[in-house]
């Protein structure tokens, strides 16, 4: 583990050292290049930029050009000239330090050219700056070294993560299948990372609590069914025992209405308590025909003509056949309850797809057409029996099938109650 940083440090230090030396050699070469020794005494004519740099460097860079005997030919500043004696003490080609009063020592290099001694130096403070440039240089190098390493790390990491997460994906699949009242309702913690087990346990505990609450709800609807239906059954049986007469007839009608209310309340409770299983492929024509067939004798007893039209081909939708049958039953019962005996009721299944129940009643006023599908909403204009729940159930079942329940006026009088699939999936 310590290998790469140690190598990096050593490499950097060596580079810093060597770059420092190279910089001084470059600096000396600059002086040599611009030194004209053909004239006596030799003339140094530095380019303006370089001369400027030396002038404003406050002796952090300097140069001295000397005769073989140590006489100063030219120097970047008087301070530089004063260092001549110390500079001459070193051999040409050597790197050495000269102490600097009140500053970092100078790092100095000297060389000979055409019998002259060239001495250059720079403040060692400039190592910081150098170091930065080296870091940059090294970083590029390291990047090339690191790329394959990164790639390998990435591959290993993905593999490890995949292995670590595949049990989590499986747990997610399990969670996706959980429905209220379903068989299992728990996520198994088998194979999951230990860190996640507490979460899974907590989720399972929460699911168990929800399942219990759902159970209570479900038991409530069966208990309510029993508690509500039994007294109605007693009442119905008692009325059946009465001698025939107008009183018996109206009592029978009252209990029939009570019985219908109870049924619809239970239907609503059951719809609220549980999501519908929407996994059947249904031929609407067939389901609607069977629902209508059960109610047709009632219509005939009231002297009504009842007919149904449907396309010759099956009209397929995906959903819950029992719920669709219930919605159709409620629509037809609604028509039976709210339109006068003897008027016809027609049922249509179209390939739109749509289910329509058409009556010849007095129709529904425009401002009530929305509200009529809300719970416990009844038209104030109709005196006839009804719980105000039947159409709300229709609307709810339609919505669960991504369809819309509506009522429209019918040409020639009456209403069209419809369930339409606006955007069939």
């Amino acid at each position: 583990m310590l290998g790469p940083p140690a190598v990096f440090m050593l490499f950097s230090l060596w580079t810093v050292g060597s770059m420092h030396d190279r910089a001084l050699q470059d600096q000396a070469a600059d002086i040599v290049r611009n030194l004209d020794t053909r004239v006596e005494p030799p003339v140094l004519s530095l380019p303006v930029v370089l001369a400027d740099a030396y002038m404003h460097s406050h002796d952090s860079y300097f140069y001295i050009v000397l005769e073989r005997d140590g006489t100063v030919v030219t120097a970047s500043s008087p301070t530089a000239a004063s260092l001549a004696a110390r500079a001459m003490a070193a051999r040409p080609g050597e790197f050495f330090l000269i102490p600097h009063k009140g500053g970092e020592p100078w790092y100095v290099y000297s060389t000979t050219y055409d019998g002259f001694r060239i001495v250059v130096g720079q403040d060692s403070m400039h190592e910081d700056v150098l170091f930065d440039s080296i870091i940059r240089e090294v970083a590029v190098l390291m990047l090339w070294l690191a790329l394959p390493l990164l790639l390998v790390t990435w591959i290993v990491m993905m593999h490890t993560l995949n292995r670590a997460f595949s049990p989590i994906a499986r747990a997610a699949d399990e969670a996706r299948t959980i429905t209220p009242g379903g068989a299992e309702g728990q996520i198994s913690s088998h194979g999951l990372p230990r860190e996640i087990t507490p979460l899974v346990k907590a989720v399972n505990a929460a699911l168990a609590r929800l399942e219990r609450a759902y159970d209570v709800e479900r038991r409530f609807t069966t208990d309510a069914a029993h508690e509500l239906r039994t007294p109605v059954a007693v009442l119905t049986a008692r009325i059946d025992m009465l001698p025939e007469g107008p009183a018996k007839e109206s009592l029978a009608q009252d209990t029939a209405r009570l019985s219908r209310s109870v049924s619809q309340l239970l239907q609503v409770a059951r719809l609220d308590a549980k999501p519908l299983a929407m996994d059947e492929d249904i031929d609407l024509a067939r389901v609607v025909r069977h629902a209508v067939a059960l109610l047709a004798p009632l219509a005939m007893q009231e002297g009504r003509r009842m007919e149904m039209t449907a396309p010759n081909r099956p009209v397929m939708i995906r959903g819950n056949a029992q719920a669709i049958a219930l919605a159709v039953t409620n629509l037809v019962e609604n028509a039976l309850a709210h339109t006068p005996a003897g008027t016809p009721i027609d049922v249509q299944v179209t390939s739109e797809p749509a289910i329509c129940v058409l009556d010849r009643g007095q129709g529904v006023p425009a401002d009530e057409r929305m509200a009529i599908f809300e719970r416990f909403q009844r038209s104030p204009n109709t005196a006839s029996s009804g719980t105000g729940l039947g159409l709300a159930i229709v609307a709810e079942i339609a919505a669960r099938h991504h369809a819309v329940a509506s009522v429209e006026p019918r040409a020639g009088g009456g209403s069209i109650f419809a369930i339409r699939w606006v955007n069939p999936a």
Binding site: T222, A225, H226, L228, R229, T230, V232, A233, V234, L235, T236, A237, R238, D240, M241, T255, S259, S263, L266, R270, R286, R289, H290, V292, A293, L294, A296, P297, M300, M306, E307, M308, T309, A310, Q322, V347
Partner: protein
């Protein structure tokens, strides 16, 4: 006809007993699963009416156990549980019919009588609608006591209607009851058959009529 009534709601049980007695049944009334078991093991009944929610257990468990022990009489389940799942479970576990509370006494009696004349009963039974009678044992039909000759299919169709008189039969339902999958079926076979049966019934002066509900189905009903 001896009938075992298993119902724990005292008032409903009293009313049922009175109503069924008036319809000619001899009634034994019990309130619990254990009493019902004891009664079924000591007495011979022709039919039973069974509530599902009983103080000491579930009626369906009782029915399942008794069917496993060889109980062969028809059992009518009388219950407040109305979901399709409950209904299917009831019929699968040995119930012969399923009547939902509240019910009309007349309907209950009619259903009980229908169960008692099931063709699997040892003795043939007469099904009567108006002045038409069908004997399920020797497969004969009379209208006002005069024999009415019918083909095998016509008789099958008439039996279907008479067993479910007052209820609408869809064409699907008739096709499924009368024809097997292998039968080459003309698209209008059911209509043709219905037309012939209707004409023969009218010709013989039958009081019930076959009504057509366009697009829905057909029903046999006493002309009113």
């Amino acid at each position: 006809m001896r009938l075992l009534l298993v119902e724990d709601e005292r008032e409903l049980a009293c009313l049922l007993e009175a109503g069924l007695k008036a319809a000619g049944f001899a009634i034994d009334r019990v309130r619990t699963v254990s009493d019902a078991e004891a009664a079924l093991e000591t007495e011979r009944y022709d039919i039973a009416v069974l509530d599902l929610r009983l103080p000491d257990g579930d009626g369906l468990d009782l029915l399942k156990r008794q069917r496993a022990k060889g109980l062969a009489i028809p059992v009518l389940i009388l219950t407040a549980r109305d979901s399709l799942a409950d209904r299917i479970r009831g019929l699968e576990q040995g119930g012969d019919d399923y009547v939902l509370k509240p019910f009309h006494m007349a309907e209950l009696v009619a259903r009980l009588r229908a169960l008692l004349r099931r063709p699997n009963q040892a003795l043939g039974a007469n099904i009567v609608v108006g002045n038409v009678a069908l004997n399920t044992a020797d497969r004969s039909v009379t209208v006002s006591k005069a024999p009415l000759p019918l083909s095998r299919r016509e008789l099958g169709l008439l039996e279907l209607f008479m067993r479910r008189s007052g209820r609408v039969l869809t064409r699907d339902c008739i096709e499924r009851a009368l024809y097997s999958f292998d039968d080459e079926l003309e698209s209008n076979a059911v209509e043709v058959l219905l037309h012939r049966l209707r004409r023969k019934l009218m010709g013989a002066g039958a009081s019930p009529e076959i009504h057509t509900l366009r697009g829905i189905g057909y029903l046999l009903e006493e002309a009113s």
